[in-house]
Symmetry: C2
Subunit: 330 residues, 2 copies
């Protein structure tokens, strides 16, 4: 028995989303397609140059928790907001989906994290994240009973950026494994992998995590190779299950000697790629927690990712449960 | 000479937008299609029942100011936010369009106004507005030089809800007319007309305002008639110009003995009607301030309104200048 299918842990962020042209990224030294970490001063500067925007709750693992709940699975989330207006918005949006979210908000500064997301005409998103209150997430924020009661605890590699979240994750892994649960992570971003390559490899090789999500760039960055198949071969040795997304080429799932190739769904127009990887993980984890075979897990991931990139914002505006039923994956 | 084409004055509001079904409106006693004024307690209650939402700067006259700027006209705005995160978002979004916005934010409580907007499957929006800092807008917020330098000063009837904004408007009218400028207003909402019918009629009949915007329901509410043509006949007597929108039936513009009927543009799908009237006014005022004939003013209004209802959120995400050029109205 378990109270939760999936517990997600990550940086709790409100997205500020606007369109821009390619030149804007160049002029402002924003690495396209990446998560650019910024400080408060640069956040002010970039915001002053940003066009009119809309706001939506985001955060990689937050989006995954929302997706898992939207599929109808029981989902929980740990992440640190501040007790401010953006923090209230984040808390509202995730709880409104039925996600258990009870991390104590930070009183006072720094404020709730925000990511300024610039979407270019090709639909690619370039993120500029000010971590704010996220830097305060630590072991004291772990609800041990929730970890013990979740089939899978999933976290984002981005958590290696704030100082103490990694301690919280290690504590979670201990609780989870002691209770016969599984740990999963996403490698998050190729530059994030560059910052923490050895630690991520150690998490995998030490068995701290069981399931790894990555996109092709992150997988190649992890093994410092430009050969995708080489990265896949290494992942096969280093973790129990790996699910590697490849944008329009779908995804590859490996488990021991098994390999499953999954197609991407048909897309009318890529509006905004924000949340694609997060929602792939949501679909996969929803399937996995409910005992589905790997190919169904992958198809659920493809479905959710394909839907979220055809809208603005990182969390699907429609019910993923309905979408799964329509696709006969429900 | 003039520094501004259009100055807009209104309640400065951040919209919180979510979809809901028809039953939700009934269960929560929300009047469909209307602006429901709510207090802080009801705002908390409704938010706790609201699904996951997105946030976007709104406010009726704020949307009009944004639309005027998006058409390429020179636009200014007066409205009161608080010095909080939502206030910063509102200020950013309107300034990012090049709108002059310099109203001093309120320090401390109440916080920036927000409107919880529920969009039903038919695309109709039902607004629930907590006025927050807007109640503090008063004559001290009038930048007399801006009023004197704007071809048209436009304000929303909603400004009769907060206590002192009406004094600010009367002061503006005096400055504007002394400088040979014109005053325009929107009747805002049929229930708002019900609250201030006599005062609105007096504004028109005393010549305090020159141009009136309304939709058919508001016009009929003003004269307590269910006969649209009767309302039109009365408006003809009571103001110099009236532009009356009729949803999918387009709009009617009257000036003295003149009458111009304008078609609505073709719509693929009504996604969210929020901002339709505000953007009609934006298109009309952009045309009018630039000396276009009434039929072109009306067509510009139809264009902007038609575009904004095919997206989520109250301000067009694309350039209205480009749209006008494409429609050969530029």
């Amino acid at each position: 028995m378990s109270r939760f299918d999936v517990l997600c842990i990550g940086n709790a962020i409100v997205d500020i989303i606007a369109r821009c042209d390619e030149a804007f990224l160049v002029d402002n030294s924003i690495i396209k397609g990446a998560m650019n970490l910024i400080d408060a001063d640069r956040a002010e500067l970039l915001y002053s140059r940003m066009g009119p925007a809309i706001e939506a709750s985001g955060g990689s693992a937050g989006n995954t928790a929302a997706g898992v709940a939207s599929f109808g699975s029981r989902s929980a989330y740990f992440g640190k907001v501040s007790a401010d207006q953006l923090g209230k918005i984040f808390s509202h949006d995730i709880r409104a989906l039925g996600v258990h979210f009870d991390t104590k908000p930070l009183e006072g500064t720094p404020p709730t994290a925000r990511s300024m997301i610039f979407v270019t005409p090709d639909g690619e998103r370039s993120m500029n994240t000010y971590l704010g209150a996220c830097v305060e997430l630590g072991p004291e924020d772990i609800e041990a009973d929730v970890v013990a009661d979740a089939k899978i605890t999933y976290f984002e590699g981005y958590l290696w950026d704030p100082p103490r979240a990694k301690d919280a994750i290690r504590q979670c892994a201990e609780i989870a494994h002691k209770n016969g649960r599984e740990m999963a992570m996403t490698l998050s971003d190729p530059f994030c992998v560059g910052r923490y390559r050895d630690e991520f490899l150690d998490l995998m090789r030490s068995g701290t995590i069981d399931i790894v999500f990555a996109n092709a760039d992150e997988a190649k960055s992890l093994y410092e190779t430009d050969n995708f198949e080489h990265a896949i071969a290494q992942l096969r040795k280093d973790c129990k299950i790996a699910a590697i997304t490849r944008s329009e080429h779908g995804s590859v799932i490996i488990r021991g000697d098994e390999r499953v190739d999954i197609d991407a769904i048909d897309i009318d127009e890529v509006v905004d790629t924000t949340g694609a990887g997060d929602l792939y993980a949501a679909g996969f984890l929803h399937g996995y927690a409910n005992g589905k075979p790997l190919d169904v897990c992958g198809k659920l991931g493809s479905l959710a990712a394909g839907l979220v990139i055809q809208q603005i914002g990182p969390r699907p505006l429609l019910s993923l449960k309905d979408a799964a039923e329509k696709s006969k994956l429900g």
